[in-house]
Amino acid sequence: MKAVLSGDMPRSVPLTLILGVILVCLALAPFLFPGVRTVDTAARICIFVVLVASYDLLLGYGGIVSFAHTMFFGIGAYGVALASTHMGRGFDALLVGSVAGAGVAAALALVIGLFSLRVRAIFFAMITLAVASAVAVLVSQLSGLTGGEDGLTFQTPRALGPAFKFGDELFGVKLNGKLLAYYLIFLGSLILFLLMLRVVNSPFGRVLQAIRENDFRAEAIGYRVVHYRVAATCLSAAVAALAGSLYAIWLRYVGPDTALSMEIMIDILLMVVIGGMGTMYGAVIGATLLVIAQNYLQNLMGVASGVVDGLPVLPELLSADRWLLWLGVLFILSVYFFPTGVVGRLRARK
């Protein structure tokens, strides 16, 4: 167990319990919460955990601010979509698309990093923003290749589709390809997450933390700071791309809004901050909280507004259309009360 978690134990009873519950719920989601929408939410949580963890490697461990993380996510997603479109449906197309996407993402990160990580951190942030915007425009304009604003709908292998049946029913759940697809996403995400956990607890991860703390001194004890920052950027980009590939495999669709939009970048930032920067487990908690809030806060508020129907002002405030307002309020409160994130807070009280 210690080796699986790379020696980075949750170090807090409530945190262990919360993580355990999240893991069990995600592992058994199709059985515990059968339904198209709930399983879809669970798959999104898995994917965002990986995406946020890869961003935390940069921000929380490396102290590097990047606004291009969605771009890398999108590159992975488009990789799978393009490969599946041009090679035809099949696991080979998924593999080629994922590997190519991760490779392109890492190469692009290398170029951006070598150009801008030598100078001040703010330049890197600005350049990532510029490149990400340019790529987003490019993708929506090159409609011949990328499908433009409409995106690409493609077919995944038959074994991952709802039409594929490999048994009757288990605990009332249909044993079809969609179930297999979910477990592909779940296991892929779990492996990637454990990989990230290992990386941040490796000697390399320690150097990143040292650079975040004091790059001047890290240099003075013999570490080439730029090399480490670039390596972290490439690794983080590659993992983000793989998360994007999983997302495309799950949705069987990719488009600028689902894979490249700035909104996703903001979501990632919120998840990292809410969960707790510099703790991989923060990614799990941040992603779970925010994805659930995004999917169910609206419903919850619809119910709440129904309950207070007839009272003055309240129904208006609680109207389902105001869910973003309340999400904002929740975010401000969480940053105010847990400046170190949920995980930082739980670990601090022993």
Binding site: P203, G222, V225
Partner: protein, 254 residues
């Protein structure tokens, strides 16, 4: 005499019109402990910064084992054998004491790009780091976060990082400043032990005359950035330039 391991030739740096270090030519040999003295603002720390590479020189060269390293980065010079402890404590504040030292040991072992093993499983790195902590008497504080450490202990850790680096050229910038009377001897003993080792070059910026008298083989005096005196301690301390420029004004305050 053995060839110098470190030398500076006409080393100069200007900040605008101000010449902070003015054409300093000086050589340092293995086994020698050189004290660098001079009034505040004389350019001692700046001279250090030029040697270890934190500041690029405006003119002149830094030679390590006869090779010009003037254009090289700090990390390159560190790996080549120039190590530095800073005057203002310069640590990794949110990491533990042990982790601070282990990072240095790990850098020396070339393990920085090891991505897939668990840092905590590298017993050899941990053992080496604990050995260093024992030498500076910080072993009891090994799991403490550095920012919670007392000032004196932070200064000790600063020295510990340099000891862990174990470079050919040790540069101490007022290592005992801010240490209590019972903390300073630990550090001074370590420096004396380095001197005993005979194969290390030690540069020491220090204000305390008693420390210099017991440790230094040689004193160089910087005054307004320029080399004002260079020689054995007794000779330099007796010289007019020191009496006038340094001893007269500074030491009475100390």
């Amino acid at each position: 005499m053995t060839p110098p391991i470190l030398a500076t030739e006409d080393l100069t740096v200007r900040f605008g019109g101000h010449v902070a270090v003015d054409a300093v030519t000086c050589a340092f040999r293995a086994g020698e402990l050189t004290a660098i003295v001079g009034p505040n603002g004389a350019g001692k720390t700046t001279y250090f910064n030029l040697i270890s590479g934190q500041i690029p020189a405006s003119a002149g060269r830094v030679l390590l084992r006869g090779r010009n390293i003037s254009g090289q980065s700090v990390s390159h010079r560190t790996r080549a054998g120039i190590g530095r402890a800073f005057q203002l404590t310069n640590l990794f504040p949110n990491l533990s004491v042990l982790e601070n030292v282990r990072l240095v040991v790990q850098a020396k072992a070339g393990q920085g790009f090891n991505l897939l093993s668990m840092a905590s499983r590298h017993a050899e790195l941990t053992d080496a780091a604990e050995g260093i902590l024992a030498r500076v008497r910080l072993l009891d504080n090994r799991d403490q976060v550095v920012s919670e450490l007392s000032h004196g202990n932070q200064r000790k850790l600063e020295v510990a990082l340099l000891i862990a680096l174990d470079p050919d050229v040790y540069m101490f910038d007022e290592p005992t400043a801010g240490m209590s009377v019972d903390e300073a001897p630990v550090v001074l003993e370590l420096i004396a032990a380095l001197k005993e080792q005979k194969d290390r070059t030690v540069l020491l910026v220090e204000h305390k005359m008693d420390v210099i008298r017991t440790l230094a083989d040689r004193i160089i005096v910087l005054h307004n950035g320029a080399l004002a005196a260079d020689g054995p301690p007794a000779e330099v301390m007796a010289s007019d330039v020191v009496q006038e420029a340094y001893m007269g004004r500074e030491l009475e305050d100390v």
